[in-house]
């Protein structure tokens, strides 16, 4: 009996906990609809990245999302200062410069993800070669003093 009461309370708690973010998101969406419109349009590359990145850690999606988000911040700030309305959002989205900023930032993220493994490979290769040289030099030094083992 006690176990049934406990399980029912936990289920209620989960149900309550899940509802709050949804309610808050809905309120925020209604309250900040212009901002959401700008963000939805500007974060489109991040969405695409999430769709095509199938790696377990989703590094591409996360990198593109981070830079894309940074690119959305200036148009969003301009919306807050210009006219925080759906019309203001449309005005912001009509500016090609804002699209360049948002999508250019996403492109930078894409570039970072493409270039960093090459750079990391070079670093790893360099470090391995250095370690090998150091070990071989020490081995030669020991062999010279104590003979080949």
């Amino acid at each position: 009996m006690a176990r049934r009461i406990g399980t029912a309370r936990k289920a209620a708690s989960v149900r309550g906990g899940g509802a709050v973010p949804i309610v808050l998101s809905t309120v925020l969406l209604i309250a900040a609809l212009p901002l959401c419109a700008v963000a939805a349009a500007g974060m489109l590359p991040a969405g695409v990245a999430f769709l095509i990145d199938r790696s377990p850690r989703r590094d591409l999606a996360r990198t593109v999302a981070a830079t894309n988000l940074a690119g959305v911040v200036p148009p969003a700030t301009a919306l807050l200062h210009f006219e925080f309305s759906f019309a203001g959002a449309l005005t912001i989205l009509r500016e090609p410069q804002n699209w360049l900023i948002m999508y250019g930032a996403a492109a930078i993220g894409w570039g970072l993800h493409a270039g960093m493994p090459v750079l990391a490979g070079m670093v790893l290769e360099f470090r391995a070669r250095q370690a090998e040289q150091r070990l071989k030099a020490r081995a030669a030094e020991i062999a010279s003093e104590w003979g080949e083992g």
């Binding site: 591409l60 911040v73 960093m116 370690a131 090998e132």
Partner: protein, 667 residues
């Protein structure tokens, strides 16, 4: 008088013996030289007015060095005593020699034993010769030894008329005695193998000496030795030596008493003393010698006593086998001679021997000869020596270059122990002799350097110098003299291979017991590094005895053989340092320091520990290199992972900076 330390240098016409004595090679003194020997004027720089002579010892006849000190300390003026001794450079012979310096005793009483001379009166014998010789012999006997050189040609008359008995230490005991002066038993031995014997042997010689002095001639001069021995055995010494002579009546008793063939019947020193003071004659009732009812025929000659038969067997051992094995001898002993014990002993000896084996049959004949004549010396093959004469006999064999197989066989087949067993019930004083011969047998069985027959040679001859080819002419008599001699030999390029040969190893092992035996084990090792370390360790020990540095020639010769010992170290730098150290020490001639450097246990342990650590590090490096090689294939994947992480981190940082900057600027 204290003897001089052994060290001398040749210097022109004067040869120095230590700091105090000088020998003049240009002033020979033939009157003091033994037959075939050399004597020279000597000077004591502390007592220049004292007349001295130096006697050169012969390299093949080891002097009785153990008696030098005790006899030098005897306070008797009727005995020639050594005052100094040592080894000197003797340029005329191009070698070093052992010399003994004596006080000059006066004029020799009889210059030539074979020629006639003015006889001494019985009065002079009684008042001068006998008291003097008795005092001298008593002094020697009190030391627990014998003189073994009592003969007219070794008696001297001092300036004050006193009779002085000559020296007895310059050669093996009795080696120079004419056979007439030897008892029957001793005359059966090789001159070098007669041994120190018993006091009775000196008294026998004294008996004939008295007779000769009274007669003014040698009563058996010109008689061949073999014939004289046969005559002594057949008729007894008194009859063989004195038949046809006319001795003063009152001297007949002591001369006969001293020349008695049975040692139990022979007069003792005490008997002679009593007779001198009271003229009382000791009476001893001894059973007569056993004589057979019928003779034993051997090689055409009939023998009615056991002694001549034993001698005949010893002379013809091959022919003796047949009558011994046939049982004729046992039957003759038991039935005709009435000696059942001897017959039983021979039966046992025959049972224990192997028929048809020459060595076993020679051994059988030797045992039979001992049973027949227990008092005779040990006779086996070409060996004829008493037990205490085996050493000098062995030295003579080595010196002549012959193989001493008979002596080696005699020791290996325990003939000496058998000789003791036939002397009657074992006496306590015979136990050390038995143990000594058992030890000699063990030494002989050991084939390593420092053992074998060479070791026995030096164990049995304390006065023998080292016969190693490189050192023989250096006349090395003790451990302290080895290193200087080796240095001279190294300088002159006389050192052979190996540096320590069988003779030198045996000599040092016999003379330097305190050195232990580890170095001998090392010399026998198959490992070259162990052999050279053994060589260096004993040389360093001998350097300590010599109380000085070894000298560069020897040390550099040793250094040339040290590489295997240096190679024991694993570290290259350590080896280089050690080589440089050894090179410096060798140039300075420091063998002890070289040993300390090359066998430093701390340094060796440190080298071993560092070597193990180096090997472990090598293994670790190999593992690390293998890991690097195997990681190369996975490196692109790792680079991709790392790149992804880095790109997200950089993007996040960039985004944060841009966002914050925009908000700050926009605000």
């Amino acid at each position: 008088m204290a003897p001089v330390e052994v060290e001398a240098q040749g210097a022109g016409t004067v040869v120095r013996l230590g700091e105090r004595y000088e020998i003049l090679p240009g002033t020979p003194l033939a009157e003091f030289a033994p037959l075939g020997g050399e004597a020279y004027r000597a000077i004591d720089r502390a007592r220049p007015s004292t007349a001295l002579y130096a006697l050169l010892t012969e390299p093949g006849a080891p002097p009785r060095t153990t008696l030098l000190e005790p006899i030098a300390d005897i306070q008797i003026d009727t005995l020639v005593r050594p005052v100094a001794w040592g080894t000197v450079d003797w340029a005329p012979r191009g070698r070093r020699l052992f010399v003994i310096v004596f006080d000059e005793p006066g004029e020799r009483l009889v210059a030539d034993g074979a020629a006639s001379f003015t006889p001494l009166s019985d009065e002079e014998i009684l008042t001068n010769v006998l008291p003097a010789t008795l005092a001298a012999l008593k002094g020697v006997f009190d030391l627990g030894t014998t003189h073994r050189a009592v003969r007219p040609t070794n008696l001297f008359r001092a300036g004050d008329g006193r009779i002085v008995l000559g020296e007895c230490v310059s050669g093996p005991p009795a080696a120079a005695q004419p056979i007439a002066f030897e008892t029957i038993e001793n005359s059966l031995a090789h001159p070098m193998g007669r041994g120190a014997g018993m006091p009775g042997d000196d008294l026998y010689a004294l008996g004939l000496t008295l007779a000769m002095l009274l007669l003014g001639r040698d009563p058996v001069a010109g008689v061949p030795d073999d014939e004289l021995i046969s005559a002594k055995i057949a008729r007894g010494s008194v009859a063989a030596l004195l038949t046809g002579t006319n001795l003063p009546t009152r001297m007949l008793e002591p001369v006969r008493g001293l020349l008695a063939d049975d040692p139990r019947e022979r007069w003792t020193l005490q008997d002679l003393g009593i007779w001198l003071t009271s003229r009382r004659v000791p009476l001893r009732q001894l059973p007569p010698q056993k004589r057979a009812a019928r003779p034993f025929e051997f090689e055409g000659e009939g023998h009615i006593t056991a002694r001549p038969l034993a001698r005949a067997f010893a002379k013809s051992p091959v022919a003796a086998v047949k009558p011994i094995r046939s049982g004729d001898l046992e039957a003759w002993l038991a039935r005709s001679l009435g000696d059942a014990d001897a017959a039983a002993q021979i039966a046992r000896a025959v049972e224990g021997s192997e028929s048809g084996n020459p060595a076993s049959e020679a051994h059988l004949v030797a045992r039979v000869a001992m049973v027949l004549d227990p008092a005779a010396p040990l006779r086996y093959g070409d060996l004829a020596a008493s037990l205490d004469g085996l050493g000098p006999a062995l030295a003579a064999t080595f010196r002549s270059g012959s193989a001493a197989t008979a002596i080696a066989d005699a020791i290996m087949t325990r003939l000496a122990q058998f000789w003791i067993s036939v002397q009657g019930p074992l006496r306590p004083e015979q136990m050390p002799i038995l143990k000594a011969f058992d030890r000699l047998r063990l030494l002989l069985e050991d084939r390593r350097f420092g053992f074998g027959l060479a070791r026995i040679l030096y164990e049995l001859n304390p006065g023998l110098h080292c016969l190693s080819p490189a050192l023989e002419r250096e006349h090395v008599m003790d451990g302290a003299a080895v290193i200087p001699a080796l240095e001279r030999a190294a300088t002159e390029g006389r050192l052979g291979e190996p540096l320590i040969d069988r003779h030198l190893a045996a000599f040092v092992a016999a003379r330097c017991k305190a050195a232990g035996t580890d170095w001998l084990d090392q010399l026998a090792s198959p490992k070259p590094e162990a052999r050279i370390l053994g060589t260096l360790s004993i040389l360093a020990y001998l350097e300590g005895l010599a109380r000085g540095k070894a000298g560069p020639a020897l040390a550099q010769r040793v250094e040339r053989e040290l590489p295997p010992a240096i190679e024991r170290l694993h570290g290259r730098t350590r080896r280089m340092t050690l080589r440089a150290t050894l090179s410096r020490l060798a140039a300075e001639g420091q063998l002890g320091a070289m040993l300390a450097a090359v066998a430093d246990p701390v340094e060796i342990a440190r080298d071993e520990a560092e070597f193990r650590a180096a090997r472990a590090e090598q293994a670790s490096i190999r593992a690390e290199l293998a890991a690097l090689a195997s990681a190369a294939a996975a490196r692109p994947e790792r680079a991709a992972d790392l790149g992804g992480t880095m790109s997200f981190a950089l993007a996040s940082a960039l985004a944060a900076v841009v966002a914050v900057g925009t908000l700050v600027v926009g605000g």
